[in-house]
C-alpha cells in the first residue's frame, strides 16, 4: 500500500480493520470521533459489525458480550468515556476476555476539556474498575507506531485473554502524518477460542460459560492468583521502551506519547549546547518499563519526568529507580501542551543546580 497521509483517528480505525477487528461498539466523544465515523462506513462494507451504543457503559458491555462470543472487538473513547467503561473492563479482565480499547485522552477531571492530555495515566495503569487486575497498555509516539500497535493489539489481547488499551492524546488523534499500514509486525499466534460462549454447545459437546462471579473466597483467591501469574508474564515479556542518547547522559528525561516527541526536540537543542540530555521513552505504560532504569550509566545525575499531567507517571519512575537517583518533574495540565523551550529551561535549571552544588 505504501505510505499514505492520514488523520490519526482514521488511521487507527483502518489499522483495527487490518488487525482483524470483527466488531466495533462505541459512543461519540471528542477528540476521537473520526475513528467511529470511519468505521461506521467501512465495517459494514466488509460485512463487519458497527454499533453506536446508547452510552459508553452499554458500548463496553457490548464489547464484553461479543468478546465472550469469540469475536475480535474494539471500542474507542476519550477520558470521561473511559471512566464509564471501567465496569465492563473489570468484567472483561475478571472473565479473561480479549478486547481492544482506544483512549484518545483529553484533560480532566470531570468534563474537563477537549485538548490533548495524559491525565488518564492513573486511570489506565492503576485500573479504574474494581478488583486486582491490569490492562495491557501502550502509549505510542507517532502515527506509525500507533498503527502498528493497534494492529498487533488484537493478537496480544487474544494471546493473553485480556483487554488491551492504546492510549494516545488528542494530538495524535487529530494530526495528519504519512503512515504505512501494511508494515510487517510481530503478531502473537492467537490460540483457538475453545472457551467462547458462542452458541455452539451442540457441536462442541459441552457448555461454555463466561463468568466473573465466585462466591467462595478461596476459589476467587485462586482465580486472582491465576490472573496474577498472567500479569507477571506480561511484566516479563511486554515491557517496551526506547532509550535515546542515554549512554553518556547527565540527565535523562522520561516522557511518552506526544510528550516524548516534544522532548526529542528539546534534547536536540540541549545537545547542541553541550548539555548531555537523553531520554527513556516508555511505549508500554502497563507494564511500566522498569527494566529501562536498570544499570543506567554512572554519568546520570538526575531523571526528569515530563508529562501532560501533574506527576502521575513520575510515580512509576520513582518506583523504578528506587531511590538511586532524584526524580524531578515538569508537566502542564488541562490540555496545555508544553513547548520544547519549557523542557529546555527546566533541564538547565536542574543542571545549574548541580553546578552550584559542585
Amino acid at each position: 500500500m505504501g505510505k499514505v497521509l492520514m488523520k490519526g483517528n482514521e488511521a487507527m480505525a483502518l489499522a483495527a480493520i487490518k488487525g482483524g477487528c470483527d466488531a466495533f461498539y462505541g459512543y461519540p466523544i471528542t477528540p476521537q470521533n473520526e475513528l467511529p465515523e470511519y468505521l461506521s462506513k467501512h465495517m459494514p462494507l466488509q460485512g463487519k459489525v458497527f454499533v453506536q451504543a446508547e452510552s459508553e457503559v452499554a458500548a463496553i458491555n457490548m464489547v464484553y458480550g461479543a468478546a465472550g462470543a469469540g469475536a475480535r472487538v474494539l471500542t474507542s473513547s476519550s477520558s470521561p468515556g473511559i471512566a464509564l467503561k471501567q465496569e465492563g473492563i473489570s468484567y472483561m479482565a475478571g472473565s479473561e476476555l480479549p478486547g481492544v480499547i482506544i483512549n484518545v485522552m483529553r484533560g480532566g477531571p470531570g468534563l474537563g476539556g477537549i485538548q490533548p492530555s495524559q491525565a488518564d495515566y492513573n486511570q489506565i495503569t492503576r485500573g479504574g474498575g474494581n478488583g486486582d487486575y491490569h490492562v495491557l497498555s501502550f502509549a505510542p509516539e507517532s502515527l506509525q507506531e500507533t498503527v502498528n500497535i493497534v494492529k498487533e493489539s488484537f493478537s496480544l489481547a487474544d494471546y493473553y485473554r485480556n483487554p488491551v488499551m492504546i492510549a494516545v492524546d488528542g494530538l495524535i488523534g487529530q494530526m495528519m502524518e504519512p503512515v504505512e499500514l501494511d508494515q510487517e509486525i510481530n503478531e502473537k499466534v492467537s490460540p483457538e477460542k475453545t472457551w467462547a460462549a458462542n452458541g455452539e454447545s451442540a457441536k462442541r459437546g459441552k457448555i461454555n460459560k463466561i463468568v466473573s462471579l465466585s462466591l467462595d473466597p478461596y476459589e476467587l483467591e485462586k482465580h486472582n492468583l491465576k490472573l496474577q501469574k498472567k500479569y507477571h508474564e506480561m511484566i516479563a515479556n511486554e515491557q517496551r521502551y526506547e532509550s535515546i542518547l542515554t549512554a553518556d547522559a547527565e540527565i535523562i528525561i522520561v516522557a511518552y506519547g506526544t510528550m516524548a516527541r516534544i522532548a526529542r526536540t528539546a534534547i536536540k537543542s540541549l545537545r547542541e549546547e553541550g548539555i548531555k540530555a537523553g531520554m527513556i521513552r516508555p511505549i508500554s505504560i502497563w507494564p511500566f518499563p522498569s527494566r529501562a532504569f536498570k544499570n543506567l550509566p554512572t554519568t546520570v545525575k538526575t531523571l526528569l519526568a515530563v508529562e501532560m499531567s501533574l506527576g502521575q507517571m513520575r510515580q512509576d519512575v520513582v518506583l523504578s529507580i528506587n531511590g538511586q537517583l532524584p526524580v524531578e518533574f515538569y508537566g502542564r495540565a488541562g490540555g496545555v501542551v508544553p513547548e520544547a523551550s519549557e523542557i529546555i529551561d527546566k533541564v538547565k535549571s536542574i543542571i545549574g543546580g548541580h553546578k552550584n552544588e559542585n
Binding site: D22, A23, Y25, V49, V51, A53, E54, S55, V57, A58, A59, N61, M62, V63, Y64, G65, A66, A67, G68, A69, G70, A71, V73, E87, G88, Y91, S95, A197, N198, G199, E200, S201, A202, K203, I207, N208, K209, I210, V211, S212, L213
Partner: protein, 254 residues
C-alpha cells in the same frame, strides 16, 4: 408390564439444584424457558445472558452457553453477542431491579434498535437478592426494607409498568405480561415464551415476556399467601396480556 414414561425433566436445565427459596417462582420460570428451548431445538445453539439478582447463578442451571452480565447490562451484552452471532438464539434473564432500575437504558435502547433478542423479565416488585429493598416496581404502600412505612408516591413516584412503556417503542416486536400463580397461567406463560423465541427465530426483532413473580422471603409471606398477593395486588396494577404484537400476519404459520 411395559412402563410408559409420561414425564421427564427438561434437558434445558442441568442437574444442579436451583438456589431459590421455597415458594419462589423463579424456579417455574426457569423450567418454562428451558422446556421451550429444548422443544424448539434451540438449546445447542443458544447463548443465555445471566444478570445480577437472585438469578445471577442461572448459568449453572440453563443447559446452554451462558454469559454473566454486570447489573442491568444484560441487553447490551446480548446485543454484543447477537450482532456477531446473528444466527444464534440469545436471551437475557433479568429481575425488576436489574431491568427497570439500573438497566433501564439498556433495555429501552435494545427495544429501540429492535435487537433480535428475547428478554425474560421477572417482576417480583422487590430487590430479592440484596434483602428486600424497594424496587421501581414496588407497589404503593408496599413495605420493603427501604420503604419501611410503605412506598410513598410523593417521594418515590409510582411503580413503573415496563411492558406498557416498551409498547410505545416502534422497535419492540412482541411484549407480553404473564403470571405463573396457577397451572392454567403456567401453561399460558409457556405459550408466551414459545411465541417470543419464535419471533427471534424468524428474525422479527425485540421480544420480552414479563413475569409476575413472587418473593415470599422478602415479602414476609408464606408461598401460598405470596401467590394470592401476586393475584390480588400485583396483577390489578400490572394487568396480564399482550402489550405489543408487531409480527407480520401470515408469518405466524410459517
Amino acid at each position: 408390564m411395559k412402563t410408559k414414561r409420561v414425564y421427564e425433566p427438561t434437558k434445558g436445565l442441568t442437574e444442579r439444584a436451583l438456589s431459590y427459596c421455597p415458594g419462589c417462582t423463579h424456579g417455574i420460570i426457569h423450567k418454562l424457558v428451558a422446556e421451550v428451548l429444548e422443544e424448539q431445538g434451540l438449546l445447542g445453539e443458544t447463548i443465555g445472558v445471566a444478570s445480577v439478582g437472585c438469578s445471577v447463578m442461572n448459568y449453572e442451571f440453563f443447559n446452554c452457553d451462558m454469559q454473566q452480565a454486570p447489573h442491568g447490562r444484560a441487553p447490551a451484552v446480548a446485543t454484543g453477542i447477537k450482532r456477531v452471532k446473528p444466527d444464534k438464539t440469545v436471551f437475557t434473564y433479568q429481575g425488576d431491579g436489574d431491568l427497570a432500575s439500573i438497566g433501564m437504558a439498556e433495555v429501552v435502547h435494545s427495544a429501540h434498535r429492535s435487537e433480535n433478542i428475547t428478554v425474560i423479565f421477572v417482576n417480583n416488585a422487590i430487590y430479592g437478592m440484596t434483602g428486600g429493598q424497594m424496587a421501581p416496581t414496588t407497589l404503593i404502600g408496599q413495605k420493603t426494607s427501604t420503604s419501611p412505612e410503605g412506598r410513598n408516591q410523593l417521594t418515590t413516584g409510582l411503580p413503573i409498568r415496563v411492558s406498557e412503556m416498551l409498547a410505545t417503542i416502534p422497535g419492540a416486536t412482541y411484549l407480553e405480561r404473564v403470571s405463573v400463580h396457577d397451572p392454567k397461567h403456567v401453561r399460558l406463560a409457556k405459550k408466551a415464551i414459545q411465541k417470543a423465541f419464535d419471533v427471534q427465530t424468524k428474525k422479527q426483532g425485540f421480544s420480552m415476556i414479563e413475569f409476575i413473580s413472587t418473593c415470599p422471603v422478602n415479602w414476609g409471606m408464606t408461598p401460598t399467601d405470596s401467590l394470592a398477593w401476586a393475584v390480588d395486588s400485583m396483577i390489578p396494577y400490572y394487568p396480564l396480556g399482550v402489550y405489543k404484537d408487531a409480527t407480520k400476519p401470515g408469518d405466524d404459520d410459517a
